[in-house]
Symmetry: D2
Subunit: 289 residues, 4 copies
């Protein structure tokens, strides 16, 4: 897979109670150590009094990235009293795709990945159906068929979790995976799971959203990429978009038109996630795009 | 007010059970009488087996529009067995604006009307507040202050109805009027009432939709123009649009950005309504744009 | 490849000098023969006095489509004095894709085609490079490598034309094919060639449009699908769309963001073309969507 | 006119050759003096090696804004070696509107201004026609009728310049003013002049852009707000947007649909300008939105 030819950079995501001087202090620490800030973006939630920041910088020449990360983390947590994560651009998260029968998001993500759009490794494709096995293997991706039925769901989740551990998964993408993951599964996995829901949430949560939209006679249909949480279709929204429909469109037309939306919205959300641009705060996200 | 310099045309809106030959028969009747069809648009609802049509034509030279309307109506109802309404382009519906304190939709509609965008007469401005009285009179519009409180609402609706009758109202536009009209009022008025709701319905129905949207952390906010029905924010949708927001936007920002959406969506819906392009069918609309 | 499960329909595209009664007469002819009109859409160019119509109908039960087509054509040409083409929905045009090195439009079109979005047969992939040979064969498509250089261009076009004839091509799609086809080639082929240009034409015609756009500092970039003509980037426009960019985007970002635009615009234009919704008139198109 | 109830803030716009540590040094200077940074945004033009920054901060309690501005300017210019301007949020620029006969942008800007959207004072309306005199006076704005003809243009510009000086104008907005201002005028005025051009520049520069667009058969029309320069329709672009059109739209329809675009694009550009979010660099802008 293509590797970026950019110089190595570090990215820190910080959040915590607002205090005077946070912008200056974080920037000052990096500057004094010899780093060079490429981007610094911040946000204040006025209602909650919370400060959010994303800083991307080139570490000092000759410094070891791992040591710089550790040092910055210590500074952020101990001196600034902020929640912080730091990653370096050379580390490529290990992504597992969950799919069912629909193939549009699957192909879209894999082709964009091969074209270098996503800084990650796709380390496996998991499905409750066999339909996409050949396509996955055509892309030289490992395919795992884990069937799920109403009675075997808990058991299937145990197997899925074991597989995710074995694959060393850092993030799961539900690319039109048609099973709901339980709160227990999400808690046990403990890492981000990104879902694409085929409506403009919170309108038309739950099943058959295009049917619901057609029934209601809306003039726009949407798609929403969000982090999965224990409450169905309620997790923090990363990205949304809509497209215009008219009375002429049948449910099948909505499904068909919706595919392009789903692909674009999921791809954008995943790109932001992988570039460490998304901070979750309560039920919302801060996206430093 | 500006008058159109177009030749007089007739517009028919038809709907009823689908039958073979409806397009040909309606067109044939007009042709044989000497009329000239300018636009003919139709739609079939496959689920319900219902046919919808809008035809716009120049009546035969020398014919009286009223007689042509009556003749077409008789043909449509008796021969084609369709529900039908016919209007002529010289007839300008009498519109009454309901407003409260917000002025953006009020100015927008009046200025567009003065610029010739809306083929109607604005015959009065009704408000439960006095804030827009001077502005209305500055436009040489009649302003009626009818205060409404929780205890006087039924009584106020009686006065509103009497006023609408006296003004000969054909259509009411709720331009950010902040009172809910009762089902009784709507039934008694018996004519179209167009409302602008400041969200992408069905998301965030009811009060304070921008606050709800901010709370949920959506990435798009919307506005919806719909016909008012007895069920709040549930009437047939005429038009909707959305605009992008981010974590940076406060509730006040959403309110502010939403104003432009509300103006554009309400103006477009009203234009379509006045051009006889909207057919209501159950909870939905067919818009021949 | 997937076949539509719709009943067979005929589609006629007509255009010619406007006359009273055209809508009624065409519809009447079909009705009297026992056909059932599903859609009829028309347009009048007021400046030129030209009438355009698209009619889609189910031929009479038991009738042979070919005979109905012939009969309608004769009626349209001789009685209505209109230019006319008629096609039936069972006939799937033979499409040839021209590609170079960029793969995004290539994959997008082939995947949509396999998903049933395009009613056509893709009968070959022609390229001046070998880069996409394996991918084409992976899709079980015939791949033809026809190198082109400044000195061999005329000769290459002769080979391309021979190949198109051998493949029985009805339409060519230039899916980011990076050679300009000569006017002689287009005249000799004599069938539609659809190109995707990576700008909002007429802005930034010619080479390196994203570089031109970056240089000028525009705030939106676009893509344009058009029929190729002897004058570069000047043919009738079928579809266009744009996306927002900022000062933050480098030329590489524009190229990257533009890919999604190019895919969506080309796919939509091709779908309309294959559904017989596009009429070319002078330098413009009428698109009955 | 409404006054903001926000605390006073200072905004600095900086640009100059990129150097390591600029983010940290500017932030550090403010922090050490006791200020509190609310927003800090920056951009690097990689091609040119230029650094751009916008910083907004609350000055130290008790400090005089004018003294803080002066001190920051000295630091930025002497220590950082950057071009810099600083403004404070209490200072409201004096804006002069130039109009001709079209009224939509005029009403839109004045109504938004009265609703508190624009932090400025509108100190006069200048027109080469009398059409909007009564409307301007209705808003209690001073109206100046300065007729312009081919032979009197140079002379009229002398009078316009004298008037702008007398009014103390800080910025001029050409709200569909239909005369081209000469390069001499712009040089003599020496302050920003914002124009709204009714096309997606660089497509359809010059006169009658909607006619040009209709002629070419484009599927989107646009509007562009830009700073006026000596070369017509070539100045740095601040904002652009487009809307969809079809073959059904006549030139008159484009003009009519375009009005909404023009209003929205000009209002957004003006808001950004007045909030000190726009930096001009060569033929482009950096907009810190």
């Amino acid at each position: 897979m293509p590797m970026s030819d950019q110089p190595l950079t570090l990215v820190a995501l910080l959040h915590g109670p607002d205090q005077r001087g946070l912008v200056a202090r974080a920037a000052g620490w990096i500057f004094e150590r010899g780093g060079n800030i490429l981007h610094a973006d911040q946000h204040r939630d006025e209602d909650e009094g919370v400060f959010f920041q994303r800083i991307e910088w080139v570490p000092p020449a000759g410094a070891k990235p791992a040591a710089e990360e550790k040092a910055f983390l210590a500074y952020a947590r101990e001196e600034l009293r902020m929640n912080a994560v730091v990653t370096d651009s050379a580390r490529r998260p290990r992504l597992v795709l969950f799919v069912s029968k629909a193939e549009h998001c699957f192909h879209d993500i894999v082709l964009r990945w091969r074209a270098g759009e996503f800084p990650c490794e796709i380390v496996g494709v998991v499905s409750n159906h066999r339909d996409l096995a050949a396509a996955a293997r055509g892309y030289e991706l490992k395919f795992f068929h884990l069937p799920v039925s109403a009675t075997t769901k808990a058991q299937a989740e145990v197997r899925q979790l074991a597989l995710l551990r074995r694959l060393g998964a850092d993030v799961v993408v539900l690319a039109r995976y048609m099973q709901v993951l339980s709160g227990d599964f999400l808690a046990a996995f403990g890492k981000p799971v990104i879902n694409i829901h085929h409506s403009f949430l919170p309108a038309f949560a739950g099943g058959r959203p295009y049917h619901q939209a057609h029934e209601r006679g809306v003039k726009l249909i949407g798609a929403t990429a969000h982090y999965a949480t224990a409450v169905l279709d309620d997790g923090p929204i990363i990205h949304q978009d809509v497209t215009r429909v008219t009375h002429r469109h049948s449910v099948e037309d909505l499904i068909h038109k919706g595919r392009d939306l789903e692909k674009l919205v999921l791809a954008q959300a995943l790109r932001w996630h992988l570039e460490n641009r998304v901070l979750v705060f309560g039920r919302k996200t801060v996206v430093f795009d």
